[in-house]
């Protein structure tokens, strides 16, 4: 996190706000809700308390405008810059302006979610500058998250509490769930949720994030899953690519999502049965598709299943024990994928390199081997 500076903060914990005008995109009641919810994000973790006024000058004046709207920082039409706000001070300080050339929404992932944009801008109104942490609310680039389950990330909590301290009422109020921290690709203890290829690139999933790595990019990029697939799942169990169908399947619990590029296909999530797995399978730990044999391998506990994609049936004689198909693999399989003809099986912080056909184990590597630390 970063702040505008210690003296650029409010000297009182009792702040006023006023919604000066409204966007035509949403019912006014939804705007009110989004703004109040966004302020509560910060009130919940600090002594700050916000009260609304309907006339006169509030500490935080909230307005919608487009292009040149009178503050020497003109907006730029659709997309690009979505909003801005000013650091705490008298006058324009604390005020938040929203670009009305954007389409703002309240509950959906369509357009730009006003609650998320407002919560970010109010961080500026209270004294926070931008964070370098891609999982932080105060990261400058917009990314969608589910507003109904939103919890202020740890980086932002640390930031705002460095200015105002923590919420003194927390003993009265239900303690705030611990904000999510952003996983670090180079953490030697990193255990991945799932790994898959996607049109020649490698995608490594962890919590609500994934890293995208390709032989062309010089560095693995970290993104929120929902910034690519707003209706996709966080914290997945397994993922694999079916190149023939140009689809990536994400598995979480008993559900499976089908991704076609940036799109989550209609009709998904479906049940695991749609992948040919029996009803008894409750959780898949990992999966990969073997290009050579055309089989998709599902790891379930200590066993693995083999599904014949062309005949669309589960192969006979399965499930088999994992260490039968992958000698030396005695731990829980956490992720799996194929790359350049090698099969990589992840277990905890380690990655085992096999030939799927000969069952030969070549090397044991670290999880971050492809993440270019």
């Amino acid at each position: 996190y970063s702040t505008f500076g210690q003296n650029l903060k409010w000297q009182t914990n009792k702040l006023t706000f006023r919604i000066v005008n409204y966007t035509p995109d949403m019912p006014q009641s939804d705007v009110d809700n989004a703004i109040e919810k966004a302020l509560q994000v910060w009130a919940r973790v600090t002594p700050l308390r916000f009260s609304r006024i309907y006339a006169g000058t509030a500490d935080i004046m909230i307005s919608f405008g487009s292009r040149d709207h009178g503050d020497f920082y003109p907006f730029d039409g659709p997309d690009g810059t979505l909003a801005h706000a000013f650091a705490p001070s008298q006058g324009i300080g604390g005020d938040a302006h929203f670009d009305d050339d954007e389409t703002f929404t309240f509950r959906s992932s369509r357009g730009y979610n006003l609650f998320l944009v407002a919560a970010h801008e109010f961080g500026h109104s209270l004294g926070l500058s931008h964070s370098r942490d891609p999982g932080a609310l105060m990261y400058p680039v917009y990314s969608y998250r589910d507003p109904t389950t939103f919890v202020l990330p740890r980086d932002d909590v640390n930031g705002i509490q460095s200015l105002y301290g923590s919420n003194p009422d927390v003993s009265v109020v239900k303690p705030e769930p611990e904000g999510p921290t952003t996983p670090n690709a180079c953490d030697p203890q990193l255990v991945l949720d799932a790994v898959t290829t996607l049109r020649g690139e490698m995608f490594f999933f962890k919590d609500s994030f994934f890293w995208r790595s390709s032989t062309y990019s010089r560095r693995a990029e970290q993104h929120l899953i929902k910034s690519y697939w707003p209706d996709g799942p966080n914290n997945i169990d397994a993922a694999y690519e079916s190149r023939s169908a140009d689809r990536v399947f994400l598995i979480k619990g008993r559900k499976v999502w089908s991704l076609y590029g940036y799109t989550v296909e209609r009709g998904y999530p479906k049940s695991l049965k749609s992948l040919g797995l029996s009803k008894s399978v409750r959780k898949v730990n990992a999966a990969f598709h073997d290009q050579e044999s055309g089989k998709t391998i599902f790891f379930v506990g200590d066993y693995y299943y083999s599904y014949d994609e062309s005949r669309r049936v589960m192969d006979r004689g399965y499930p088999k024990r994992v260490d039968e198909g992958f000698p030396g693999m005695t731990g829980e399989v956490t992720a799996a994928f194929q790359h350049r003809g090698f099969t990589y099986i992840f277990s905890g912080p380690q990655m085992f390199e096999y030939s799927f056909r000969s069952k030969r184990l070549f090397r044991v590597l670290r999880n971050s081997y492809f993440l270019r630390c």
């Binding site: 690009g80 931008h130 370098r132 680039v141 560095r219």
Partner: protein, 79 residues
């Protein structure tokens, strides 16, 4: 012949505008500034470092992709 239609900004223009707006680039890139590391290249490195991109000081596709993402209008480096 130059197109008579309004053309989209070139990548260089997008980058220059981005750096001016969010990273306080004040100097326009001119031939004279090409001696040594130009201010633009230095500030581009700063932007790449902020967004955890590979710091090259050169405008590459990863960097341009980040520049084109929707974002907050508050600059990273205030004027």
């Amino acid at each position: 012949l130059p197109s008579l239609l309004a053309t989209e900004e070139s990548d260089g223009e997008v980058a220059e505008k981005y750096l001016q707006r969010f990273f306080n680039l004040t100097e326009k890139s001119t031939p004279s500034s090409r001696r040594g590391v130009s201010a633009q290249s230095r500030i581009l490195s700063e932007m790449q470092s902020f967004f955890r991109l590979k710091v090259t000081g050169l405008l590459d596709s990863d960097t341009l992709e980040v520049m084109k993402k929707p974002r907050c209008g508050v600059p990273e480096v205030a004027r």
